[in-house]
Subunit: 139 residues, 2 copies
Amino acid sequence: MADPLQSFPGYALRRAASAMMTEFSARLAPLGLRYAETSAMVLIEANPGTTASQLGRMLDIQRANMVPLLNRLETAGLISRQPIDGKSHSLSLTPAGQVRLAEAKTVIDTFEHWLIARVPEEHRPHLKPALDALWLGEG
Amino acid sequence: MADPLQSFPGYALRRAASAMMTEFSARLAPLGLRYAETSAMVLIEANPGTTASQLGRMLDIQRANMVPLLNRLETAGLISRQPIDGKSHSLSLTPAGQVRLAEAKTVIDTFEHWLIARVPEEHRPHLKPALDALWLGEG
DNA sequence: TATTGTTATACTCTATAACTATA
DNA sequence: TATAGTTATAGAGTATAACAATA
């Protein structure tokens, strides 16, 4: 079976990301976390007091879609929201959230090492810079 | 704002794929095609007479999810299904489908060149092999 | 006037289970 | 017994429009 799609870097990018996210999701599942939730918790820990809107901009998630995501984390007792002014809310991890994130971080580290190890050594140093150019590059 | 996520290749992979697929979808939209539909048409052209199940395996799309996808293409008059035996169906592009795919291929080529051009030259030759290792590599 | 949080809604892709008919 | 096509359904992520309240 001929597969002309395999010649396209863009197709390889999509298939690789899809395969890796499936694997990552499976590894997070035992913790009861999705990867979008996990990335939000990582950013909240690194930026305590940040707001939903700021978080959405960093994660490229629409403001509207942050609402159910943060609701789930709050309902699970992993984050708390404190009013800053009458409009914004300050986000922070609860003690339970800190514990859960610590567990998630070991999953992340193991996963990231596993991912990199799949890449042949001669290409390894080039992967991240190449990917960064795709999503961070001038525009 | 601290962004620890930016240190992870896996995160860069997801963001890069997401950004590129958004761009690719936008370029295909004027043709009335989604990228999943477009990739199916590419494979049908390269493997005339193939079946929905074979296609699904190549594209890593569940058999069940191929049904509405192929229905849309058939309704749009871009593909046709011919019974092989009492069970399988042979897929092929209609003349209109061939025309549409030719248009899509120019979009694909322009897009793929644009994508690669975003990657700094020294990393460029390494991107595809690295990505291939991630989704095609031993397992 | 711009921003925050929110609701409602819809679309794309993906995943699973189950059924019928056929190989 | 395994496979092809199909239906139904659900989940995850994403997108837009609109609104009230606040900065």
